[in-house]
């Protein structure tokens, strides 16, 4: 049973990596939010599988924290992208906004 759960965790990790590389390549603001959300739920899935294979219930606390941080990171991206847009337009700098 543990062998199967480790296999499942490896597949989930690989799929999260694949999706992450694809999304972060574009790196528009929406893509960044999606990457935070993907790593959040993918990380939680891997951690829950690990908590069973490593028979330690404390790992579920890490998953709980990861779920919270995914929401926090998304808000951080939205607010800083907004501040970026405001500061770029405010200083009328010539360079094009990178997002």
């Amino acid at each position: 049973m543990n062998e199967f759960l480790y296999l499942a965790a490896t597949v989930v990790l690989a799929m999260v990596a694949l999706g992450l590389f694809r999304i972060l390549y574009g790196a528009g603001e929406a893509d960044r939010l999606m990457s935070a959300q993907l790593i959040g739920s993918g990380g939680v899935a891997v951690l829950l599988l690990l908590s069973v294979t490593m028979a330690s219930s404390a790992i579920v606390d890490v998953a709980l924290l990861l779920a919270l941080l995914a929401a926090f990171a998304s808000v951080a991206f939205v607010s800083t992208a907004e501040e970026l847009r405001a500061s770029v337009s405010e200083s009328e700098a010539g360079d094009d906004p990178d997002s």
């Binding site: 499942a8 999606m34 935070a36 069973v52 709980l64």
Partner: protein, 97 residues
């Protein structure tokens, strides 16, 4: 009895992981943000949900199983709200482009 539970876990977790695979393929194939968002939301509720559902019999105690469900609900809850943020920023980027 444990054999049935193990088979149940393997089945449920396999289908759950399958949704992660679909999401990854979707991110590679779909061109713009909104269609990718459609794939991303499936990962949150169905993919993770099936994995948690499959892990319930493996969790040590009933409290442990409840905790797994709480984690899933939290991911689903914050995921639903963040999806709104993503859709809103995709629309705003659409206007700018």
């Amino acid at each position: 009895m444990t054999l049935i539970l193990d088979v149940f876990t393997i089945a449920a977790v396999t289908v759950g992981v399958f949704f992660f695979v679909i999401a990854a393929l979707a991110f590679l194939r779909f061109p713009d943000g909104l269609t990718r968002l459609h794939a991303l939301t499936k990962v949150d509720n169905v993919g993770l949900g099936l994995i948690v559902f499959g892990l319930l019999p493996q969790a040590g105690s009933v409290m442990g199983a409840l905790k797994l469900i709480c984690v899933w609900l939290l991911v689903q809850f914050s995921g639903a709200i963040v999806t709104q943020l993503i859709a809103r920023s995709t629309r705003r980027e659409g206007q700018e482009a």
